[in-house]
Each structure stands twice: as structure tokens, then as C-alpha cells.
Symmetry: C2
Subunit: 329 residues, 2 copies
């Protein structure tokens, strides 16, 4: 058995992103399809704001696709307890729904699952939507933003962002060429403010497994992209891989890209299910669509923990599912 | 597009259940593979106890299967914030993992997804594991059990239970013949102590869609089984379907079976992702294996809410994915 599953005929039909204020002011601000300076997306709670943002992203992706065909399955997830952002935001669409939880790794979990179902011929068209919202996440996992709590240097800033992706068999300039599930990995990290360190071992495990299964060299990809390791986790990932004899010179991390870390006070970078989703839609897919990148190994990275598990002193686990994205001439 | 997807060659290879004290004392107590009178499963927190219970169920299912082949994908979920029971309990197995969240509907969500992936030929063997634990769930969603809070008559008792299922292409006496995702449904229910009412409209929606897509009559099935509507939700389901001209004389609800409602003080019945999982493994699959039932339409039912959404006065949504289970001579 190989962990990497080849995917033959799954393409990205359309995609869109929606983000909040800080993300709109960041280096990729102009690349997102929609941004809301108020971060509310018209809702009266932060929790529902996140759901509305998912709805905006999915609506825009559906519009861009300009197709009438129904969507067989909608795969979605977020960071809120019991995934309520997805439930609120996607209820109005009435699409048959599979709720996912992979923390910040949910984007590639969803892309992998949708690809497996589509490629096996069990669906014609699938949607994948993930999101995170800094105000909803911070008050749930740590402290409400209004409290103004100090954050340690290794902490990351949860992105207010969502991405929506439509996948089908219709040929476009970007195909999903392989999919891999992550394994739950315990790197022994207990500090919930250092999620990069908790996720780096899982990312290393998945990258090593992918290279082995696909008989590939790291340099075979234009970019190996991780979701939200941030500066601390990215440095750890490179060191873990170096210890295994793998040198990554083409690694990029969405968490290090979303904000200008010299001016936007995001400490070790961005995080959240919305971070890699928005960056994939706004930056990496356009690179592939234009042919400026040919092959990208894309791994969203998740830190598996809850407010209860942290309070009980449990370790923060990591997981990193992956998809291989290829330019199609 | 039909919501129901035919499944051609997916069979239940093995399965197992693990439950707690009250479940062991209930009418099906002797049918479960393992029960722990202490409800702790050897762990020092209720949250980890639930994870250990998942591990017990999966270990037993793997043993019963007596097969060496690796498991391509493990689909799992539970009710804990950020699905930490699954993360804790399944970490030691090291199996490529897809985390799901569908509240108490996660069992059939997982069985449906695993069937779709297997039937399309993208995997050879998959596992599905779900659980719930009354002590972990009650203190998270409502009040710690030690508080001794009074529960209204419509409230259900979260089952301390887990079920694990191995699916493959290897022919056995039970096949999964069809799979369907649920749709998120808002029935306007705000009372988080009346989850049966919140889930009944979703169950009705899925049953009606299944009958329509499969050109079937309700009487074509030996049983139409719901997950955990309890007494209140079951009565509502029958009324909703009657309003649509569908009379169910073969409906059974796992939430009404797990406890003896006349003596076990479970109010409107059992609930939780573990309820339908344990009852499927301990009761309904044996019926199919022995040929005492030929066709069962099985729908786990989920109430989508979180402690935050309830505190904010939001509605409790429902969802009900389904699988069609058939006896193979």
C-alpha cells in the first residue's frame, strides 16, 4: 500500500477567496476576491461572521465557474467548536454535506477527499470550503481580542479568511494529480502558543512519505507549500527534513506570506484553516494557471488540540494531508 | 444528479463495539464486545477515556477481521470540541486519517465516505470509528454530571459507546449498497435539550430523498433505522413523513433501544455518535449477517450546535447521512 493515491482526472474548475481587514492590508491584499474591512461580513457575532465569509467565498467560486451542473458533495470545515461556522454559512446552499475536522489542515483534507471521490467516478462535481476567523478563534482557544492579552513570540495570528474550490472532471489548467491523508503525529509539544512546533513533525512525516511513495526528489516540485507552520515551524521543518537527508530549497509557508511580518504584528505568522485556503486561491493557483509553476506539493497543516485538552496539559498533535497540484498546458 | 450513490462492491469486513456501564446494563448489554463498568477505560480524564474506548473498538474490529492488509484510510469522529477523542484514541494506530464532524451523524457520514472512496477503487480497506462519552459530552455541552442538574423530559442521555467498522472489497454477508450525504437542515428548534426535534426534519428530508432517488417504497426495507432521535424525535419523524404521504411501519431508532427507558432514567432516549455505532455493530449487523434482515436503510442523525451557538441563541440544525445495508447470501 502506498499512502499517496494517484488522481487521474480531477481539475480545479473555479475558486475564490474572502478575507478580513488585516489580510486585505497584507502583501497579497490585492489578490483576494473579497475583503471586509469590518471583519463582520454583515453578521452580529464573530462566529456567524465566519460562516458568512464561507458563504461569500463559495458564492463567488460558483459564479466564476459559470456552470449549471449541481454539486454532488460539499466538503467543509473550520476551527469553531463543532464546526459551527460551516453549518451556519453553508446551510443556505442546501448541498449534500460532509463536515470535516482537521484543524488548520482541513483544506487539503477536503481537497484530498473530494479528489478521491471524484476520481473514482462517484461524483461529477464537488466543492471544498474552509475558513477561520481571528476573533472567533482567539476567544475560543485563548482569550477574547478585547482582553488585549500579550502573545508570546512563537504565537501565530489566526487568519480571518476563507477559500472555496470547485472540483470536477472538466479539463482546466490545474489538475490534482495525487492525494494523501495525514497521520496524527505527537511531537511532544504542550505549548498551545507554539503550534508551528506541534505541526512541523507531521509536515515532515507527510513530505517524506510523499517523496518516498512518489519516487520523487524535493527538487521535482516548483514549490513545496505548507499551510501555517509560521516562522518557528518552518525552521523546524527544514531541520527535521535535513536530519533525514532531504534539503528543501523550494519550501514556502502560507503562514509566512499572508501578513507582512515586519509591520503587521502577527508574531510567528498566520494560521487557521482559512490561511492556506485563501493563499492557495489567491496566489498559488494563479501561478499554476499561468504556467509560472508546473508542480506544487501542497500540505495544509493542522494542530489538533482543544481548549479542554490544553487545560488538561495534553500534548498538541499535528497532521498534514497533501495534494499534488499540476499545471495543465 | 441523484443524491443516492449506488455502491457496487463494498462489504463490512469486521466490526466491534465498546460501551460503558449504563449501556452494559441496558437491553443490548450482552451484545456489545466490551464494556467498562468504570466508564474510564483506564484513562485519567473522561475526554481521554472516550479516546481509549475508540481504541478498544478499533483493536477488536481489527482482531476479528484476521487480515494483515494495511488500512488505507481511517475515518473518525466524536462530539468533543475539535474531535479530541479521535485524535487521542487513534494516534497510536498510525493510520492515514480523515477527521470528520457530523455530530451524532458521524457514523453514517464516515460509512458513506469510506464506501465512496472504496467503491471508486481509490482504497482497498478503510476503517470507520465513532464514539461519544456521557461524562465528556455533558460537561462540555451542558453541565458536569457531578452537578446533578435536572434534565427536561425531551433531553437524551449521551451514550458512552464506540463502534468500529472495517470495510473492504472482500465479499462478506453484509454489503453497503448505497450511500448518501445529508443536507444541513434548520427546523427552527432552539432548545438544545430537545435534539430529537432538531434532527427529525433532517431525517425526514434524507428518507424522502432516498425513497425518491432509489424509486423505493418504505416497505422495501426490513427496517429504516435512525441514529438517535429518541422518543420525541421519532414521533416527530413519523408525523413529518405522514404529512408527505409516507407511512413508516418499520422505523426503529437506536436512541430508543440502547437503554430500558422505563428503568434507566434516560428520559427521551440515548444520543451521541457512539449510540448508532454501537447499536449497528451489536444488533443490526448481526441481523443482516444471519439473514434475519435483508435490507436496512440506516441513518445516523446529527444535531449541529455548539456551546457558543446555544449561548448565542442560535437554532440547532440537523443532518442525516444514510447508507443502505444489504444481506448477501
Amino acid at each position: 500500500m502506498t499512502r499517496v493515491k494517484d488522481i487521474e482526472r480531477v481539475y480545479i474548475q473555479a475558486h475564490a477567496s474572502a478575507v478580513g481587514r488585516e489580510e486585505g492590508r497584507g502583501p497579497y491584499g490585492a489578490c483576494f476576491d473579497f475583503h471586509d474591512e469590518s471583519n463582520t461580513f454583515g453578521a452580529d457575532t464573530w462566529e456567524k461572521a465566519e460562516g458568512e465569509m464561507q458563504g461569500v467565498a463559495l458564492t463567488l467560486a460558483i459564479k466564476k465557474a459559470k456552470r449549471e451542473e449541481p454539486i454532488d458533495f460539499l466538503f467543509s470545515g473550520d476551527l469553531q467548536n463543532q464546526c459551527m461556522a460551516s453549518a451556519h454559512g453553508l446551510l443556505p446552499f442546501g448541498i449534500p454535506h460532509f463536515g470535516l475536522y482537521g484543524a488548520c489542515s482541513t483544506l487539503t483534507e477536503g481537497l484530498a477527499l473530494a479528489s478521491l471521490v471524484l476520481d473514482g467516478g462517484k461524483a461529477q462535481r464537488c466543492a471544498v470550503v474552509t475558513s477561520s476567523h481571528t476573533a472567533a478563534a482567539e476567544r475560543q482557544f485563548r482569550l477574547p481580542l478585547e482582553y488585549g492579552g500579550q502573545r508570546p513570540p512563537a504565537a501565530q495570528w489566526t487568519a480571518t479568511a476563507a477559500g472555496a474550490f470547485l472540483l470536477s472532471h472538466e479539463k482546466t489548467h490545474v489538475k490534482i494529480a495525487a492525494a494523501m491523508a495525514g497521520r496524527i503525529f505527537d511531537g511532544g509539544v504542550r505549548d498551545s502558543s507554539n503550534m508551528g512546533a506541534a505541526m512541523a513533525p507531521a509536515a515532515a512525516d507527510s513530505i517524506l512519505a510523499f517523496l518516498k511513495d512518489a519516487h520523487a526528489d524535493a527538487s521535482d516540485f516548483d514549490h513545496i507549500v505548507t499551510g501555517d507552520l509560521g516562522t518557528v515551524g518552518s525552521a523546524l521543518l527544514l531541520r527535521l527534513l535535513r536530519n533525514e537527508g532531504v534539503m528543501l530549497s523550494n519550501h514556502v509557508d502560507c503562514g509566512c506570506l499572508l501578513y507582512d511580518l515586519s509591520t503587521q504584528d502577527a508574531h510567528a505568522g498566520a494560521s487557521g484553516c482559512g490561511c492556506s485556503a485563501a493563499m492557495l486561491s489567491a496566489h498559488f493557483l494563479p501561478l499554476l494557471e499561468k504556467g509560472e509553476a508546473k508542480r506544487i506539493l501542497f500540505l495544509s497543516t493542522g494542530a489538533l488540540m482543544s481548549p479542554s485538552s490544553v487545560a488538561q496539559g495534553e500534548n498538541v498533535f499535528g497532521i498534514a494531508p497533501a495534494v499534488l497540484l499540476e499545471h495543465v498546458p
